[in-house]
Symmetry: C2
Subunit: 143 residues, 2 copies
DNA sequence: TATGCTTTTGAAAATCATTTTCATTTAGTC
DNA sequence: GACTAAATGAAAATGATTTTCAAAAGCATA
């Protein structure tokens, strides 16, 4: 599936008339090798460790492209750092965020999703995206 | 009810051992006279127009106190500006945010609230707060 | 009311994540 | 290989927020 994601991104880039660059390939490889909600700085450090030449601005720019291509989703929690997570086609989830240990637990709730659609409908509102974050303490931290 | 809110804040301040200052009184009066989701900068400008001497840092500091006291709620949307709204005792709502005109529509959904509690329970998670924001286009902007 | 101690304030500087600038390098085309 | 526009990296700029610090003000006490 990593190969498919690379292909998908390359199609997106081609359709957008973007050039294919060594930097983007490397950043994509490394992003795809990570798991869960990585911050730009964290990814930048990972990238830099194997490719010291790649600049921070390029990582910022490239992650934005990933999000635009549908490969990644931008997550803004309450710590002032933008994070990115992998998008799995056809799937969606929201987050429980532990303010004790910064753990992030993912959950899906079809009923909540549908209720949101109802609410939007009721207000004549067209949904582009939504964010549902529950902040508190995970089972470990609440002890 | 404005008087009650002032009293409530004064009790909070007293309990915290804070001194009563002209600046905080003025900022509280002006905050209570506003409606809906005001940004710190907006409130600062309002304050400055009648009280040019009051500094921005004081407005930042004071709004944080209001939130801490339970009088105000901090709202972080996706535009990089912190906003504050009035807290009505015993009430809670979430937001539909129009990315076209920046309008914010409030809604309440008891079922969604309860489902969140279920989810938390299922994960052994203790909820401190949550945010549910639906982004998209309001009925005016979608045309 | 004056004194002394401590908090609060305002202005300016600092912070920090992110974006922009711009000179240089590079990819894609001929 | 040469040309042209896009992409890059380093550094500067940005912008919201926080911190610093000297001066001002609140509050307890004499
Ligand atoms: Mn996730
Ligand atoms: Mn609201
Ligand atoms: Zn935890
Ligand atoms: Zn609108």
């Amino acid at each position: 599936m990593i190969l498919e994601k690379k292909k998908a991104f390359n199609s997106f880039a081609a359709a957008k008339g973007l050039r294919s660059t060594r930097q983007r390939d490397i950043i994509l490889d490394i992003f795809l090798s990570t798991h869960q909600h990585i911050s730009v700085e964290e990814l930048y450090l990972k990238v830099k460790s194997s490719n010291p030449g790649i600049g921070q601005a390029t990582v910022y720019r490239t992650l934005k492209l990933f999000a635009e291509s549908g490969l990644a989703r931008e997550i803004l929690l309450h710590d002032g750092q933008t994070r990115y997570e992998h998008v799995v086609a056809g799937e969606h989830h929201d987050h429980l965020v532990c303010t004790g240990c910064n753990a992030i637990i993912e959950f899906e709730d079809e009923t909540i999703e549908n209720l949101q659609k109802d609410i939007a409908l009721r207000h004549g509102f067209f949904i582009r995206s939504h964010k549902l974050e529950i902040y508190g303490l995970c089972s470990t931290c609440r002890i």
